[in-house]
């Protein structure tokens, strides 16, 4: 009797395959983008350790994620927002920031207390955002209360964080942890870092008075509905135990263009999670000493987290309500016939019989 081979891990064979396939998939897209325009910008409200704030969210176009160039994460299509040539200059990045401030001035009554900056990569990677630009952006938003910047944990270094904290900003680093399970992060998501690196980044951030917000991905490819739910519950609890990690944003995987997930979806081998599963994770981890929020992108559509089509908006509203109040009783207010189907799927679906229902 032999055991299943651990070869995949020893040789990095799986990651090579994922990267190779992802490079092929990404090569299908041919759009390019204006380096002086942000990828997206919007106004919202967010729950933070110091209460609910109006927020300005900026997706900065930095030329994209370094990891994505190698192939990258199986679900991530944001690399499609790359620019020609691959890098964006300081001047262009600041032009994007100006465009965002204009957007805010036009649409908000007063400046948002919370600024969130994502890059579809790592804001703290100086190949994406030079130190000069980082410092200039910190100065630009010095009058706000809080700032969140996105980064992979390997780029989290205290001096970079201090660019923000010295401006008096309550600073959080948003880390795309995806899952606390190293094996799932590596084999299903194709991310290279380990949970220990996330813990290291959180500890470093905490030492300089900053915090960490973990982004979790619910239902990467190759997991069944119940495996995905179990993975999220466990991940939320593990994040709650990491000092410095005060918030988890637990987001259902959606089907983005030019990704491995999209190929599986088109091949009838992937379905985004049920909104009931999202609710279940939020409800069951509500007792943890950590803020857990979720923002199901494209909810109710085939490409996003969805239920039966009848109840999606109601469940989404309950989730958004939970985000702000952290009160699990919001889920008692919603029900639908399709819960029975979801229960059957949760009980029966195996990774070898996916998806049991659409």
């Amino acid at each position: 009797m032999s055991k299943p081979s651990p070869d995949v891990y020893e040789q990095g064979k799986g990651m090579d395959a994922h990267n190779s396939v992802m490079r092929g998939i990404r090569a299908r897209k041919d759009e390019t983008y204006d380096p002086r325009e942000p990828t997206r910008v919007w106004l919202d409200e967010d729950n933070t350790p110091s209460g609910v704030y109006d927020s300005l969210t900026i997706i900065l176009n930095t030329g994209g994620c370094r990891w994505a160039r190698a192939g990258g994460c199986t679900m991530c299509g944001y690399v499609a927002e790359s620019v020609e040539g691959g890098s964006v200059s300081h001047e262009d990045l600041m032009a994007q920031i100006d465009a965002c401030l204009d957007h805010e001035a036009e649409n908000a009554e007063e400046p948002a207390g919370l600024i969130k900056i994502y890059t579809s990569g790592s804001f703290l990677d100086e190949r994406e955002v030079p130190a000069e630009t980082r410092q200039a952006i910190a100065e630009t938003f010095a009058d706000r209360d809080r700032i969140v910047v996105e980064s992979l944990p390997d780029f989290v270094e205290q001096p970079k964080i201090e660019d923000f904290t010295t401006q008096g900003l309550e600073t959080d680093i948003a880390v795309g942890l995806e899952t606390a399970t190293d094996r799932v992060r590596k084999d299903c998501v194709n991310k290279y870092f380990e949970f220990a690196e996330f813990e290291r980044a959180a500890a470093d951030a905490r030492e300089v008075g900053a915090g960490v917000k973990a982004y979790l991905l619910m239902k990467p490819p190759f997991l069944s509905e119940s495996e995905a739910t179990t993975d999220m519950k466990r991940s939320v609890r593990k994040c709650a135990d990491v000092e410095g990690c005060h918030t988890v944003s637990m987001n259902p995987c959606n089907v983005q263009r030019h990704t491995m997930v999209e190929d599986l979806y088109h091949g009838d081998g992937y379905r985004p999670p049920w909104l009931w599963s999202v609710a279940e994770v939020l409800e069951s981890t509500a007792d943890e000493d950590i803020i857990v929020v979720s923002d199901p992108v494209g909810h109710g559509s085939d490409r996003g987290a969805h239920n039966c089509g009848e109840c999606d908006d109601r469940v989404q509203r309950a989730i958004k309500d939970f985000d702000l109040r952290q009160d699990p009783s919001v889920f008692e207010q919603v029900s639908c016939d399709c819960e029975r189907t979801w229960e059957a799927v949760t009980e029966r679906e195996k990774s070898y019989s996916m998806p049991l229902a659409r």
Binding site: P4, H18, T181, R183, F222, D268, G269, C308, C338, R348
Partner: protein, 586 residues
């Protein structure tokens, strides 16, 4: 070595098998109660479970759902452990061939959701997987079975399913039957007598619908198993699969996978073939008969050919109409019956499967496809066999069109003898007078030609002459016995199937002759009654269920009838491979 799955009955690619657990399970069946999943290796490392004989253990797996890139499948493929309890390996059509080293008893196809509903993809995936895994292993298609598709899944070669889709559909308020699905709210009454349906439609909720769907699936599988045992699944499929287009497309596409089906289709059966649809023409049995009649058979008579219409009664010679033709022909012509869907049947082969085993729907109307098929067969037949005259004693509609088409195509002139109807006094008199100057052939010639024709059909072109050089006849038609010049018996014509069963002397002649011998090479033992698959060293690729086979080993020389195809004999480790009729120790 497969220890826990054995095939008992075969009907084309479909099988009734036995999952030999502590409580054995007859397949095709739902596997819910016997499956034990050791879990996915995607989220966690897993130990190989202890396992035991009460369950089919799905070994720790990394499943590749539909749309998984080849490179990813290669990089993440699992090396399954070879365990000593009943086990199943999760595979995709691409990884199946490499997963067989572990000698699992069953294989789970991981892209079922991607292929169900898509006939082309389904047929490609099932054929590829089935060809890759050993024949005496079960193929489990998870998550897609319904009462409507169960028969077609089994027909394609699936042995195990589950109730998952039936349950999920029930929770969605979809009521499943063998003819499809309906929304519960659209039902005016419950069209079923299962226990779940023993209540009024008003009280019937989705929980009841789940129970009904599961009952309906189990019942559908019961029908399937019984159909397979009777050798009649295809007849059922041709009707039942029509309720869903993709299922009809599946069996039609499988007809295009001729070698897959042909290898698995017996050369003889007790069961009748119902020809109620044009699809029946594309059955292996029909195609194979036409192929052998036009490529192996050769007419040995010097008399004119008389083409007559088939009769409903079989064999034809026992029908009233053929009795009348016979009285008119009086052994002065060689009779060829023209029939849909078989094509043409020379008189010597009237007993030979499926010539006396089919029954078609008679309306007197021939479709264009039927005419084309029969005309093609008749044309090929006449290209191979030269007759001094061709007399067509056929009625107008259909038969006559076909004859005229073939006449034109081959530049022949048929003589037509029917006025109005072939059995009228006038028509029969025409037939008799047309032949009045012809010589009669004798009984001896008739009997010799019959045995040789059957040998050609059964063993290959020219086999009749090779096997029966110095022929004497014993007994009477239809149970003719072939003896050699010294009076030793070589073979008997089995009236039920119209094939020869050989004696040891006959088998020895077959081995020595130029006719291609179907051989089964066995280990060092003397078989009695039957040969089991594990005793087989090698077997001819072209052996089919029902074929005569010569069984040879260091200790024995025997002759019998194959119960498996040649490839199945070689690749199986369980089950009866061949019966043994006569054996001689060496």
């Amino acid at each position: 070595m497969t220890d826990y799955f054995e095939v008992h009955d075969r009907d084309g690619a479909a099988r009734v098998g036995e999952l030999r657990l502590s409580d054995s399970l007859r397949t095709p069946a739902v596997s819910d109660d016997v499956l034990s999943d050791a879990g996915s290796l995607w989220p966690a490392d897993r130990d190989v479970p202890e396992g035991d004989e009460s369950a089919l253990t799905v070994l720790p797996h990394r499943a590749f759902p539909g749309g998984t890139a080849d490179e990813v499948q290669e990089a993440f493929a699992v090396d399954y452990p070879d365990v000593d309890y009943p086990s199943a390996a999760v595979v995709s059509p691409d990884t199946a061939a490499d997963a067989t080293d572990a000698n699992a008893d069953a294989y789970v196809l991981s892209n079922a959701q991607a292929i169900a509903g898509h006939a082309q993809a389904f047929v490609a995936a099932v054929v590829r997987t089935r060809e890759a895994i050993p024949p005496d292993t079960a193929l489990y298609l998870p998550g897609v079975a319904t009462p409507a598709n169960a028969a077609t899944l089994a027909y394609a070669g699936i042995d195990l399913v589950d109730t998952d889709r039936a349950v999920v559909k029930g929770t969605q308020g979809k009521y499943l039957t063998t003819d499809g699905e309906q929304f519960l709210e659209d039902l005016e009454e419950l069209p079923c007598a299962c226990p779940a349906c023993q209540r009024s439609i008003k009280e019937f909720d989705r929980g009841d619908c789940v129970d009904h769907n599961v009952n309906a699936l189990r019942a559908a599988l019961g029908t399937v198993r019984q159909r397979i045992r009777r050798g009649r699944l295809r007849d059922y499929i041709e009707g039942q699969a029509r309720h869903e287009q993709w299922l009809t497309a599946v069996f039609r596409r499988l007809d295009q996978q001729y070698s897959y089906l042909e290898q698995r289709t017996p050369v003889l059966r007790r069961a009748e073939i119902t020809s109620a649809t044009e699809d029946a023409m594309r059955r292996v049995e029909i195609q194979r008969f036409a192929e052998r009649v036009t490529q192996r058979y050769r007419c040995r008579f010097d008399n004119p050919l008389v083409i007559v219409p088939c009769s409903a009664a079989k064999p034809y010679s026992e029908s009233q109409s053929h009795g009348q033709y016979h009285d008119a022909i009086q052994f002065r012509g060689h009779t060829l019956s023209m029939t849909s869907p078989i094509g043409v049947v020379p008189q010597e082969l009237e007993l030979t499967y499926p010539a006396q085993h089919y029954d078609s729907v008679v309306t007197g109307h021939w479709s264009a496809t039927e005419k084309e098929f029969v005309a093609d067969v008749l044309e090929a037949y006449l290209q191979r066999n030269d007759y001094p005259r061709v007399i067509a004693h056929v009625p107008g509609e259909g038969y006559r069109d076909i004859c005229e088409r073939v006449e034109d195509s081959l530049g022949l002139d048929f003589e037509y003898t029917v006025e109005d109807h072939p059995t009228t006094t006038e028509s029969l008199a025409n037939l008799a007078s047309t032949l009045s100057d012809e010589l009669k052939y004798g009984k001896r010639e008739r009997q010799h030609n019959t045995l040789r024709a059957v040998a050609d059909y059964q063993f290959g072109e020219g086999a009749g002459d090779a096997l029966f050089e110095d022929l004497q006849i014993g007994s009477r038609y239809p149970k003719l016995r072939a003896l050699d010049g010294d009076g030793e018996q070589l073979a008997t014509l089995v009236a039920q199937y119209g094939v020869l069963s050989l004696t040891l002397a006959g088998a020895r002649r077959w081995v020595e002759s130029d006719a291609p011998t179907k051989r089964v090479e066995i280990d060092n033992f003397v078989p009695h009654g039957s040969v089991l698959a594990p005793g087989i060293v090698d077997a001819s690729e072209d052996i089919r269920v029902g074929d005569e086979v010569v069984i040879e080993g260091p200790q024995a020389f025997a002759v019998g009838r194959a119960a498996m195809s040649g490839p199945e004999m070689v690749r199986s480790s369980r089950g009866i491979a061949s019966s043994v009729r006569h054996v001689e120790e060496r």
